[in-house]
């Protein structure tokens, strides 16, 4: 008991600071989304902003666009990250160089990656010129439009570029800690390498895998700068819509931005709830088995 009190006391300052700022911010955002913004003399609570948001014909398209880019980039990133970290861990010897290299993209800000991807992937960009140079394309007109379109490819590439090494780094330490004897035991019992991967490695890595996928999804679903710079004009990703409403000099538009933010928050919280629910059930089942 005493130990527990001590633990609570020690974590209190950090918890108060983090929870306080997050809760206060969230609370104010929710208030504003209901039209309470006393600084500009809006004090009547109203559902107007939510009604307008749900009436808007572009909302569904924006949602689909945000979901699409976030899900594809997360799944690709997590999948490739898992395979790559497994390959490094089980490889014949430790590659210090590869380990260092994989930490690099994690440290590069998204905005820089956007610039790199823009210069690589526009029709007159580096890749197109390279293909023309080696004779695979006759002119840049033959290079497809990848950026700023509703396909969302540019956005997916940037998030993938960040998600892949991130998952690799996180899973590397998990996989590294798996007891080597599991491998010997399973192989001794006749498991193939693939079976070892799917029945031993994957279940052990799963909690971390899902956690990183959730973090990556929540970020790519709700951050605005990448879809703002590389996404389409129509449909606009939800966070971009929120950003535009927020930065509008018409302060009366702020509640719209907040309504969009609350909607995005609900979606991410819902997903985390699902994860929590599923993972506790899985754990319980394991316990009773």
């Amino acid at each position: 008991m005493k130990k527990q009190t001590k633990a609570i006391l020690y974590t209190m300052p950090a918890v108060i600071f983090i929870a306080g700022t997050i809760l206060l911010g969230t609370f104010l955002a929710i208030l504003q989304s209901f039209g309470y913004f006393p600084e500009i003399n809006l004090t009547k609570l109203t559902l107007k902003y939510y009604q307008e948001l749900f009436k808007s014909p572009t909302l569904v398209k924006s949602l689909v666009y945000s979901f699409k880019t976030a899900i594809i980039s997360t799944l690709l990133g997590v999948g490739c990250g898992l395979v790559a970290s497994y390959a490094i861990v089980t490889g014949p010897k430790e590659h210090k160089f590869i380990k260092r290299m994989m930490a690099l993209p994690v440290a590069i800000p998204h905005i820089i990656v956007v610039t790199i991807v823009f210069n690589l992937l526009i029709r007159t960009g580096f890749i197109s010129r390279l293909l023309i140079g080696i004779g695979l394309l006759s002119s840049f007109q033959d290079f497809p439009n990848l950026l700023l379109t509703s396909s969302g490819i540019g956005v997916i590439v940037v998030y993938f570029w960040k998600a892949f090494p991130y998952t690799m780094m996180v899973l590397y330490s998990v996989l590294k800690s798996i007891d080597k004897r599991y491998n010997y035991v399973s192989r001794n019992l006749g498991a193939t390498r693939l079976q070892f991967f799917f029945y031993v490695v994957l279940p052990l890595a799963k909690p971390m895998l899902i956690t990183s996928a959730l973090i990556l999804f929540a970020f790519s679903f709700s951050a605005y700068e990448v879809p703002y710079l590389l996404g389409a004009i129509v449909p606009k990703a939800l966070p971009v819509q929120a950003y535009i409403e927020y930065t509008s000099p018409i302060l009366e538009n702020r509640p719209y931005a907040m309504a969009i933010n609350v909607l995005m928050m609900i979606i991410t919280f819902f997903l985390m709830g699902v994860y929590q629910f599923v993972s506790t059930r899985v754990e319980r089942r394991r316990y009773y088995d």
Binding site: E39, I122, N145, L148, Y228, I233, S248, P249, L251, N253
Partner: protein
Amino acid sequence: MKKIILSILMVSLLLVVGCTEKTEANKEVYFYGWGGDPRINSYLDEDIAAVMKEKHDLTLVRVGMNIDEILTKLLGEKAVDAEGTIDVVWINGENFHTAKSNDLLFGPFLEDLPNAQKYINFDDPENQYDFGYAIEGYEAPYGKAQLVFTSYLETPPTSLETLKEYLIAHPGQFTYPAPPDFLGSAFVRNIIYETVGYEIFMDMPADYEVVKSALAPSLDYLKSLKPYMWQNGEAYPATREQLDTLFANGEVFLTMTYNPNHVSDRIDAGVFEPHAQNFLLGNKTIGNTHFLAIPKNAPNIEAAKLLINELLSVESQAKKFDPTVWGDMPVLDNNKLTDEEQKLLNVSGMGVGTLSQETLLNNRYPEMPADLVPIIEQIWLEEIPSN
């Protein structure tokens, strides 16, 4: 125990002394504004800061912050009635409108400034209205911008008709940043002025239907360009920088900017080829003035006035106009300057590929009233990219 009490006393005494010393001095003046251009930043951090230190013994502290955050900060401070931290804010247009109508600004102060009395033409509409909104001495002009276009063509299209003819002959080579990007939005307004004139907008009510029916010919023109535009007019660059990249790569034939000296800077940096040349598309282009204001809760209003006054001196404006420094057009009235002062300004402003200040100022549209701008941006979004 005694030792502890003594040391606490000592420390607090030190703190008190430290604090009083600081308030006594109060030798800082805080400038808040957009900080995204290193050249603009170093103009303030180095050139102006040196003058302020030397002449007034004030330390200029520049804080880079976007205007929406500044407004949020001022609103928050107003809500709790707190003294602020901002002495001078770089502002214009819709944001000035928002700040002034929410009672966030100190003023009127413009006519208190000696250099304003000396060099500013108070009767010039550009110094009376900011995006159609009466200034009433709550802002001091700081610099002028004007929409210009840049291309490599010897005879670029200079009217809407010739632009369309050029695009039909060279499809896919033209685009503009999507509004609400500042520049894209200005480009669309310029097309509007060229198609239906600017006069009707000057006292138009901010009503969606009224604006939309006034825009009909402009929207038709923009729609008629779409099949010949970059990516069939379905995708648009998000920023000026992206448009510059497309232009530098040869994917589009023109780029545009609000800073007429931008071209010299890009040529100097080796991004554009040396024969890039500015031109005006249409009879005139939109110009606007950007301003400086003082928040109502500014901690040091006197210092703020000194700083703004200094920024209105011939030397500061000439330095600012130098394309290697910033290239921003001066706001001083040529008729109020001595020959020598005029010479100083004109010499400093001519960069490679630019148009003369005279050409620009003689072919200049006023900005649209601020409250029409978001309506136009919304109509553009509904009508142009998706249809």
